[in-house]
């Protein structure tokens, strides 16, 4: 009984010493930039970037091998932060979401010139000569062709109004 306790305790101490020494002897110093990048990454080691964990991704980012948008869980916010830290330009248009727009005729200054009516590629504008024009919202793509052609500036583009049917839960702010 006593022999077993002593021998196991001895073994434990021995292996502990070996591990402790090895961690000092074979310590890999991580560079400042890599450590900083790793701290910015989510730290979940999910592997979606294709590198071995967040530390691997940080190394690849620091060496310029990986793109700043390589981390799907980090999303747009992280990509922006990484781009800023690394001083590279981020293709913002690829990540940015555009707000859908719809044309609207300000009836008090519409002169019924039919120019917008002719320019509309989807027949979304209805009207006739010297009659106030109107936009069918469902058919409008917000292409702004009519806005540019209107001689009186009576057409403006507004964001598509949110209704109960089109409202979407906002995305939670990333932690």
């Amino acid at each position: 009984m006593l022999a077993a306790i002593l021998s196991l305790a001895g073994l434990g101490t021995l292996f502990g010493l070996i591990l402790g020494l090895a961690s000092r002897r074979f310590h890999v110093a991580s560079e400042g930039l890599e450590a900083e990048l790793e701290a910015m990454l989510p730290g979940t080691n999910c592997g979606q970037c294709g590198y071995p964990g967040c530390a691997g991704a940080a190394t690849a980012l620091a060496s310029g091998e990986a793109s700043v948008s390589c981390c799907p869980p980090g999303g747009k916010l992280l990509a922006e932060a990484l781009a800023e830290r690394l001083g590279v330009s981020l293709d913002a248009s690829a990540l940015e979401e555009s707000v859908p727009m719809v044309a609207f005729v300000r009836e008090e200054i519409c002169i019924g010139c039919t120019k917008c009516f002719k320019a509309c590629p989807t027949d979304a504008v209805i009207g006739s000569v010297k009659q106030i024009h109107s936009v069918i919202r469902e058919a409008c793509t917000g292409c702004a062709k009519c806005e540019h052609i209107c001689p009186t500036g009576a057409i403006e583009l507004d964001p598509v109004p949110v209704t109960l049917q089109t409202w979407v839960w906002p995305k939670p702010v990333a932690a």
Partner: protein, 526 residues
């Protein structure tokens, strides 16, 4: 039939195999939120006096909004239809009392967006005159006729989902659905409206169950009630004694046991297939409140204009259960319960797990509102305290459907909504158990709600783009046709001009020839 009082087999275990029951020991989905049902659960249902104004939103159900059929200034009676259903999945809205229509306008309604929506405003006159209701004996009715009457009474799922009840009843039209499950789970903390209903009006619920069974041509009804409601179980068993086809089955108290799919799996051992409906496996689920509403709609001929609401939460002076007219602003409910002890940290309509936070006290009670909760800071969690995911897998163990919430949320965070949908978002029931158990307090269910909405929006925009492509093609075709017609018309005009010219030339030549001939003749005469 009531005299065939056979011993009720209601105490029998659910119809599941031994293997399924053994598996349950290892699959411990769900969570055990603090129930906090008392003291509201100990109070009897009290009718709330009429408020000075009723607000009746046109969208109180899933599906198309109802269309108003009354005008401002009109006097209406209790039970009169104010807005008719539009389409198959919709529900009409009736006047909860007699009074005058003040108008129809946009008001804040119970919706997580906080947006406004059109509603009918009714000023009660206090006389409470009703139209003549004509109840019938459901046994004399055709199943189709039951479905029609339930639809006309505006009955929707009272458990919160607000799906028009008649649509579910109509599912038995083509082939009978053998099993009806009445959902008396009420697994949401705080809420006790179904509990009180089953304790005080068990006969109505049982009668409703029999009407539904008749409508779907079913053979058995299982009433699942969580084991934390022993009084409700006893009351329902007493009421169901006379009907051997109706069995009351206690189910464990665990969130979300009151979810349709979980209750079906527990009671029958069958799973609703992914993307399918419960009717596919021969089951229809209705809330106990819906059953009571169907009973009133058929036997008494009364449309759905009232419901039981639990008013609770730490900030409420006297929590209790009230029977209120649909359209009553929640301020009237809170006032009747002695007002607020303190400024609530959050106002919730529905349960704390799946309900929605609301900002105003002017918001009306609608058909699906089971609770009005005024929660104190101690009862809510900080919304901005989310940390990073530590991949502990708590959400995976808790998910009642067996999905991977952490992975789904990671994909959504990265913008891969379709990928998230493919690995299970499409089967998510949005119960919020994952968010509840997450030690990092990640708002997982909000990610899923967001992704759902976003995917639906993408589908809508795809439909719109297809329609617009057709418009563009139609326009291009028209422009081409117009251009072709123009050139053809020009060519035609040109040909006509030339023909006219040729004719004129020919005529001139003929005249000239005639003149010359004449001249020659004259000369010859001379």
């Amino acid at each position: 039939m009531p005299n065939t009082c056979t011993p009720n087999p209601s105490s029998a275990a659910p119809d599941t195999s031994v293997l399924t029951r053994l598996q349950r020991l290892f699959k411990r989905w769900g969570a055990h939120p603090d129930a906090r049902k008392h003291p509201a659960a100990d109070t009897t249902i009290t009718p709330l006096p009429l408020p000075p104004r009723l607000i009746l939103p046109l969208t109180q159900h899933i599906g198309a909004a109802a269309r108003p059929i009354v005008a401002a200034g009109e006097r209406v009676l209790r039970g009169q239809m104010l807005a008719e259903a539009q389409g198959n999945v919709s529900a009409p809205i009736h006047a909860p009392t007699s009074g005058t229509i003040l108008g129809i306008g946009d008001v804040p309604i119970p919706h997580p967006s906080g947006l406004t929506a059109p509603a009918i405003l009714l000023e009660p006159d206090g006389l409470d005159e009703a139209i003549a209701f004509c109840g019938v004996d459901p046994d004399t009715l055709d199943p189709d006729e039951i479905s029609k009457r339930v639809s006309a009474a505006g009955v929707v799922g009272m458990g919160g989902a607000t799906f028009p009840a008649a649509v579910k009843l109509g599912l038995g039209r083509h082939s009978p659905i053998p099993t009806l499950i009445l959902n008396g789970g009420e697994c949401e903390p705080y809420l006790s409206c179904d509990d009180r209903l089953m304790r005080e009006r068990a006969d109505e619920v049982v009668s409703g169950a029999r009407i539904i069974l008749h409508a779907i041509r079913g053979s058995e009804a299982l009433i699942g009630i969580e084991s934390n409601k022993p009084e409700a179980i006893a009351a329902m068993r007493a009421a169901a004694t006379a009907w051997p086809e109706i069995r009351v089955v206690p189910v464990p108290s665990r969130y979300p046991m009151g979810s349709e799919k979980q209750l079906i799996a527990w009671l029958t051992g069958r799973e609703v297939p992914s993307g399918g409906r419960s009717a596919d496996i021969g089951v229809v689920v209705q809330n106990v409140g819906t059953a009571a509403a169907i009973h009133r709609a058929i036997r008494l001929g009364e449309p759905l204009t009232r419901r039981i609401v639990t008013v609770a939460g730490g900030a409420i002076h006297t929590p209790r259960n009230l029977e209120v007219c649909i359209g009553t602003p929640i301020s009237a409910l809170i006032e009747y319960c002695g007002g607020l002890n303190e400024e609530p940290a959050r106002l919730v309509m529905g349960g704390p797990m799946m309900g929605m936070a609301v900002r105003s006290l002017d918001i009306p009670v609608i058909k699906g509102s089971g609770g009005v909760l005024a929660l104190t800071g101690a009862e809510t969690s900080e919304p901005d305290a989310a940390a990073t995911c530590i991949r502990c897998g708590s959400c995976v163990d808790a998910c009642p459907i067996g999905l991977l919430p952490l992975e789904m949320a990671a994909r959504i965070r990265g913008g891969d909504l379709q990928g998230s949908n493919d690995i299970g978002l499409k089967d998510c029931i949005g119960c919020g158990t994952c968010s509840f158990v997450c030690p990092s307090r990640i708002p997982l269910v909000q990610y899923f709600n967001h992704a759902r909405g976003e995917l639906a929006a993408r589908d809508r925009s795809k439909l719109k783009n297809d329609a617009i492509r057709e418009l563009v093609e139609a326009r291009n075709e028209r422009m081409e046709r117009e251009a072709r017609e123009k050139t053809e018309a020009a060519a035609r005009r040109k040909a006509e001009r030339e023909r006219a010219k040729a004719e004129a030339a020919a005529k001139a030549a003929a005249e000239k020839a005639a003149r010359e001939a004449q001249a020659a003749e004259e000369r010859s005469h001379a």
